[in-house]
Symmetry: C2
Subunit: 339 residues, 2 copies
């Protein structure tokens, strides 16, 4: 985007801070999209077909945006941050493809999930391909520290997904295990995305650590809200199916909190629907009612708000700038999108 | 192993050249095993359990051995080649885990495949984990050229697996497409394993290229023989099920060659069993008979022998040594294991 056009646009900045961040990233976001589209090409035509279905499905590009913003905050030059942002989005996309196979998901961003259209086999293999492409991009950037940050995140994500398998039908799962899982499966990539951007721009150690902390806390807040939204009518508006976690008998924080103060009736209800996996018509509505009435949803959002606050505070060591202020607002936004 | 013990052992070297290579690798192979076992540990206990099932199932460690031999040939020092060899085995193991899910395999190395014991979900996720661990190891080695070699190989392998999906039930597949697929899904990792080892040891460009060529040609020979063995009674002895490709209606070179000279009866047989996928009792035996009688199996092995010869010739630019001679014999061995 032309600089003057951008400056004019910023005179009346969009209210949505993710859009503001995109505006502040200028041409970078378009450049990331170009890299994404050119690097998912392959002689095996199925790969770009399937990848495009997910990549062009209107995702917010939140993770690559954080890499770009983090890098721009520290006045990056060259195109390292562009390639890293594309690599981050590839890792995210690969994870979604494998997740949807593992969870037998039907929908993703309001459209049929890739596994329902192409089957599990292509989803697994295209995920592997995009993951490799991510590493190829990182290798081009050539920084072994950045490579280590993202390779570590990838290993942690896979560990988190494995730990999550135990969260199915398991009412013994406590808050601690739950937090460990979402730290790994969600927050690790946000943390790495933010840290890698700052690193590529040559930020000082305390600043790369601060950005890592920003990403980590933002990621936790994001997942907590996601897990609350899964029991909320608002979810349908966002193109996801409501009650996915419930149907998969996945134990998330709202259920953990509800169980911690449940009477006999409620305990029996969770045993039947989650532990035994017997779900009748009306059970999802009843689950939502229990979680709303007992305050478990509100409490989940409260926790998310505390993590969002920690994310904002982490930004204190970064120089004041419109980007820093947009990043801070993004932390609020991931919580406030509920209402 | 103690040096003197090793020297004595080499006075009467084992006939099997893979065992000879292992002997020549000395302590390195044990060191690789230590790295493999320590790096597959995780808080998620399922990961080492599942990984161990495959890693300790008596695989030959052929790929990591080639990395070690390639590095030792050029007098490597330090432990870079150890870590790279472990990374190569992790990539291979991750590929096998995903392959077995994609192919719905029941057996792997004579034991139940991981997906039949733990299910598809853990197999997918542990594959992702091992793949990430491979990159962590490579990052520790710190050479971006070696990282590029193995990241490229990983992307090519995934592409090859996707291209292979088209080989199912498709009698229009020709030799060219088949060779492209096996170059990608099998030979790419052998080529990268050999090239990375030489590179880590600081070999000259013409030598790293020669080792790449050795690995590529060895890999093609290896896969051609594998595809012939799938129609051979010897297969059962090796702990694999015979006729896997046939049952999955996968078109491999023996079938392609048979079709190229088939009469009406044979063409009808392949249409029914592979294209339409209708397989009756006795059809596998009949397929084997057709392939043996028509010479398609023998011709597949002849092609393999030509690739093995190219692999041996590639070694010419490497210094004469017991390792070089064992590598040359390995090329013969992958073909001769048929008989």
């Amino acid at each position: 985007m032309d600089n003057i056009v951008r400056e004019i646009a910023l005179l009346t900045p969009p209210e949505n801070p993710v859009e503001r961040l995109a505006l502040l990233a200028g041409d970078d976001l378009g450049a990331v999209d170009n890299v994404i589209h050119s690097r998912m090409l392959s002689e095996a035509a199925l790969i770009p077909d399937l990848a495009r279905h997910l990549v062009d499905s209107g995702g917010k590009r939140l993770r690559p945006l954080i890499t770009l913003a983090s890098a721009r905050q520290f006045h990056c030059s060259g195109d390292a941050h562009i390639k890293l942002a594309a690599a981050v989005e590839f890792i995210h996309t690969a994870t979604l493809l494998h997740d949807d196979v593992v969870d037998e998901s039907m929908l993703r961003r309001g459209r049929p999930a890739a596994n329902t259209l192409w089957g599990n086999k292509p989803s697994i293999l295209v995920g592997d391909f995009l993951f490799s492409r991510a590493f190829q991009l990182m290798v081009e950037v050539g920084s072994t520290i950045v490579l280590a940050i993202l390779a570590n995140a990838s290993a942690v994500i896979a560990e988190g997904e494995v730990l999550q398998l135990r969260m199915s039908r398991n009412l013994a799962i406590g808050e601690e295990h739950y937090l460990k899982v979402i730290s790994a499966k969600t927050a690790a990539l946000f943390a790495a995305a933010a840290e890698a951007g700052a690193h590529a721009a040559g930020a000082a150690l305390r600043q790369t650590e601060a950005m890592r902390s920003y990403g980590h806390n933002l990621g936790i807040a994001f997942q907590l809200v996601d897990d609350a939204l899964d029991y909320s009518g608002r979810q349908a508006v966002m193109g996801k199916s409501v009650g996915d976690d419930f149907r998969e008998a996945k134990v998330t924080l709202p259920v953990i909190l509800s169980l911690s103060r449940a009477g006999d009736d409620e305990r029996r209800f969770w045993r039947k629907t989650i532990e035994a996996g017997f779900q009748d018509e009306g059970d999802l509505s009843h689950a939502i009612e229990i979680l709303e009435r007992g305050g478990s949803l509100a409490e989940t959002i409260d926790r998310a708000r505390a993590y969002a606050r920690a994310a904002r505070q982490a930004l204190d060591v970064c120089p004041e700038s419109p980007i820093r202020s947009a990043l801070a607002d993004v932390a609020n936004f991931v919580v406030d999108r509920v209402y």
